[in-house]
Amino acid sequence: MARVYLKDIAHGRSGDKGDTCNICVFARDPKDYDFLREYLTAERVKEHFGDMVKGEVIRYEVPTLKGFNFVMKHALDGGATISLRQDNLGKSMASALMRMVIDDYENEKKGDKNENQ
């Protein structure tokens, strides 16, 4: 049973367009893509950010890249110069997502395997 941060199994980058922030996330090991597809849902990402992201979170899947693009509305406190945040351009939002803790990582993967058997 392992407790991992998302950063241990994924990498990504974040950016801004106005008050919308997008974070792309890719599985470090392609084998983890299916697990991430199950685990890293838009709902879970929205819940993770809590107050930081006021609007909806949409997830787009890009299986050929073993990755996802999360588009988060009203995520940057108004965005650009309106925002009073230190990181008004959302450059550190990817790392904020990457600190998500995944409990029982091995178990979840085993669970997947069991289903396949």
């Binding site: 367009k17 792309c24 890719f26 787009y60 009073l84 990457m98």
Partner: protein, 455 residues
Amino acid sequence: MKRVRIGGGQGFWGDSPDGAIHLVKEGDIQYLGCDYLAELTLSIMQRQKLKNPKDGYAKDFIKLMETIAEECKEKNIRVISNAGGMNIVEAVNQLSNVIKKQNIKNYKIGYVLGDDIKDRLPELMKEGLEFRNIDTGHKIDEIMDRIVNVNVYYGHEPLKECIERGADTVIVGRCTDSALFLAPLAYEFKWQKNDYDKLARGIMAGHMLECGGQVTGGNYDFDWRAVHDMDNLGYPIVEMTDDSFYITKTEKSGGLVTEESCKEQILYEVHDPSNYMTPDVVVDLSRVELEEVGKDKVEIKNIRGRASSDKYKLSVGYHAGFKVVTHLAFAWPDAYEKAQYAADIIMKKMKRKNLKVEDMRIDYIGLNSLHLGLADTSLEVVNNLNEVVLRIAIRTLEKEEAYKIVPEIAPLQLNGPPGASFFGGRARIQEVIALWPTFIPKDAVKLTSHIREVE
């Protein structure tokens, strides 16, 4: 088979010129694209132009050209840039001066006018255009008296015309960043308006190049420690044929090009990957494939395109008040507790001064200013902080309101909790410019291509 190499020389206004200079020397490129404009850059440039009519463009570009123009002319490297910002003609004048001073012969500067439509707004509104905010649905009337700039995000065609007419350098304002790179590719390969897949490939070439070092090892989350010689980070080169597309860099530079560095850039600031909209083409990245085909060389395949809409996006910046950010540092012991107490003192004083704010934030740099509520602020972390910087930011409607907090920070070194350290001088009040996202029908915009021959 025809092969065209384009370098991405600038990621933003304020980027280092080193990457671009290296590309000219060592990149074996035929074109160099230099992007200077982010979402709010034009508003800042317009403010500069209002203060000084000869200002309002990216002067960095002229400096860069002082260094590279002669070598570019010799090697027939054509330079394409949106450095013209809000004062394209003045940028052309300044580049002409450089060319004359360096005695470079037969030089043609291409430029495109017509993206700045602020003065045409009333006339267009009379014709019935409402420029509704795409987020809120509101009509633009409510910000009319506060508008700073109105510019059209246009596509590659007028730039291509300048290249066709022999321009050594093309200077434009607010075309899309990616059009700077699509224009020479469409010219070289004679891509037509309905070659959607090819145009989409050209747009993505631009997308991969327009952020400079971000695809060659900069901001590389996958494994930043693996990026060698970051002090000499190579800027990216796209190698394109009529039916293939590679990202690479020079051997002599630092950095890397890997599948992962390309992945992180390809979805950067993209929303729906199957529907990436530009004025030239709508790009579908949903089945894109990346493959490392050699050292620092990645092939990008399976990009699809389809027709773009009949509208251009507009970049409208409008005045939305003022903001000021203040800092005060505290050291161990009890750094966080002292900083919190200082914040409390400031807040009480501001209340007495009857400060009226639109918004306010209190954060602690070194603890939670980036990850905010997600930061670890457990007692274990907080009690052991060596130092922390109190950051107070306020946004106000009136400048005088913002000023109320400015003189109150430094005195806390003598009048507040012990060990406070003030740095950076008194905080500067900044104008807040907000964006009004909206569209304009393409046929309401008149873009014109020009050539100035420098004798």
